[in-house]
Symmetry: C4
Subunit: 193 residues, 4 copies
Amino acid sequence: MTKGRLEAFTDGVLAIIITIMVLELKVPHGGSFEDLKSLLPIFLSYVLSFIYIAIYWNNHHHMMQTAKHVTGSILWANMHLLFWLSLVPFVTSWMGENHFTSASVFLYGIVLLGAAISYVLLQFLIIKSHGKESVLAKALGNDFKGKISPILYVIGIVASFFNVWISGIAFIGVAIIWLIPDRRIEKALKNEN
Amino acid sequence: MTKGRLEAFTDGVLAIIITIMVLELKVPHGGSFEDLKSLLPIFLSYVLSFIYIAIYWNNHHHMMQTAKHVTGSILWANMHLLFWLSLVPFVTSWMGENHFTSASVFLYGIVLLGAAISYVLLQFLIIKSHGKESVLAKALGNDFKGKISPILYVIGIVASFFNVWISGIAFIGVAIIWLIPDRRIEKALKNEN
Amino acid sequence: MTKGRLEAFTDGVLAIIITIMVLELKVPHGGSFEDLKSLLPIFLSYVLSFIYIAIYWNNHHHMMQTAKHVTGSILWANMHLLFWLSLVPFVTSWMGENHFTSASVFLYGIVLLGAAISYVLLQFLIIKSHGKESVLAKALGNDFKGKISPILYVIGIVASFFNVWISGIAFIGVAIIWLIPDRRIEKALKNEN
Amino acid sequence: MTKGRLEAFTDGVLAIIITIMVLELKVPHGGSFEDLKSLLPIFLSYVLSFIYIAIYWNNHHHMMQTAKHVTGSILWANMHLLFWLSLVPFVTSWMGENHFTSASVFLYGIVLLGAAISYVLLQFLIIKSHGKESVLAKALGNDFKGKISPILYVIGIVASFFNVWISGIAFIGVAIIWLIPDRRIEKALKNEN
């Protein structure tokens, strides 16, 4: 099976998720700067989620470049990832509109953790079907980023019951880790050719 | 005619349908777990419909891989399928928001049945234009899944007047049948090459 | 310039337009069949507009298959077409929600006419850049459908001031004309190869 | 890395942005022409923003045709551009719904300026990775349009505190400058081949 449509469908879903979130920035009735103030927490949540979706798209893009074929289970693992990501707009605006209550930060973390686990699962299936000597397997190495992220999510989720600031730092921390340039896959692909 | 744009357009529409449904999960005003409770039936409906759309995408993907060309009638049969699927977000949230009333479960079943029939029609037209010896015709074989699904839908639709639980079991049953791995087309494509 | 991205962008916009219209089918508060009744005019408008967008996608698909390259003016003519089509969801639901008032039927016709004219313009520019001996030019022939459509739209628009039923018949008439199979381009492409 | 998915994702996001804006044209309750009147400022904002997004798509399309490969930083610069453009629907409807108040025109200008700067950044990174002798570098020349636009945006932003008409003229002016046919890249690509 070719991977083209899996990529196209994923691109479509992520493009819609990333754009739909901005619809939750409901246009305020007044036309002064004062009227925008109440949107600030929603806007900040939007920025964080935008970065998360962008990271997922970026990583997905890199990962799929190493894949030569897809199997039925890869298709479903990909759908599973899209399911968790499709919940991001909901938890983003719930968190933003309620000014980061404990419950909303908790749920935001759960959805991020769900997406992270389903991404690892997808990655595992691709490596499994391509072999341990495949580009992706070599590129990942010990996969430090992939291992530290779930730990930070769990810290953020647990912390949400005590102090949502700690959760915020944990979630922003994961985003920063992934934003740091990481040429593992680019290098591995080059070595291959 | 090439099949590329038919696939791309279908991917686009399905990506939007699957993502738009989550917009019906309206963000509750309160920020506690208690406030989420009322969303549970909508969320469950969403999960079921997400799985359905994912199954359709998956099957469509497999089916189109066997197609070598498309005709005018295939284009319209595909549009017809998309029409029924475009109604899924509406019936999903009507059913969820009204906690599975008889009428809403009935309509949900009708839309699923409409989609199933239009899918069979599309499949028939592709086989017709490719011949009985084509990959798709061979892969389908006696097409057990394709034959049992409409029967289960009709059971679910009729049952909605008496007991919506039976309908629910019927509709979830169809989803489970299709989730069970099924390598008919993958195998047939391999044999071809 | 290659035509791939023009097709992809057009597919994206049309996929969104066709799917977004269904969002105007606002889920009614009650869960009985009675509660659906008031949605009937909106649903009928939706079906008509769905068919229109499907026709445009179909025709666009066929037309672009004959194109070998695109120019800057073709890109803009295409955007101009998308602009008119992007107004379809608005006029569709305005017409449906107000039960086909004179003004709403008038505006619906204007948008359809705008789309039709911009399509003819796009077609003209593609023929111009490919020459009178091009596949598209030959395929169109005297272009009966393309000539009768604007006339029917104008009849529908004018009639909206007296009797919206006549407008409805005119608009449905155009859709039927285009739904009748028409293999001009398919044939011309075959002759070419 | 191949550029296909970057183009596809960008096409998806821009297609959604351009179509989502029309959702802000909320269907009025009455069905007469009188009821449409209050939508006029929103409609005008929509037309302007539609043209802007169309220009960005057009320029992006041309620019990417000259690119032979993409790097990690190009992917992120592209995401940065999409972030600013994703805010366009919000500022468009805020400006339209509040009839061009000083604050809303100011914010509209800020978002346009942010998009323009991120576009220049993206262009810079593509040239950097392809070399000064690349097609894009040659095509841009002294890049008059790219240099005058930010100046006009800043004029529009500053003027919003005194007279929003001046801002309007500045913003419409930028759009007109870019609508004027400009064959630099088309020519440079031809010379290359």
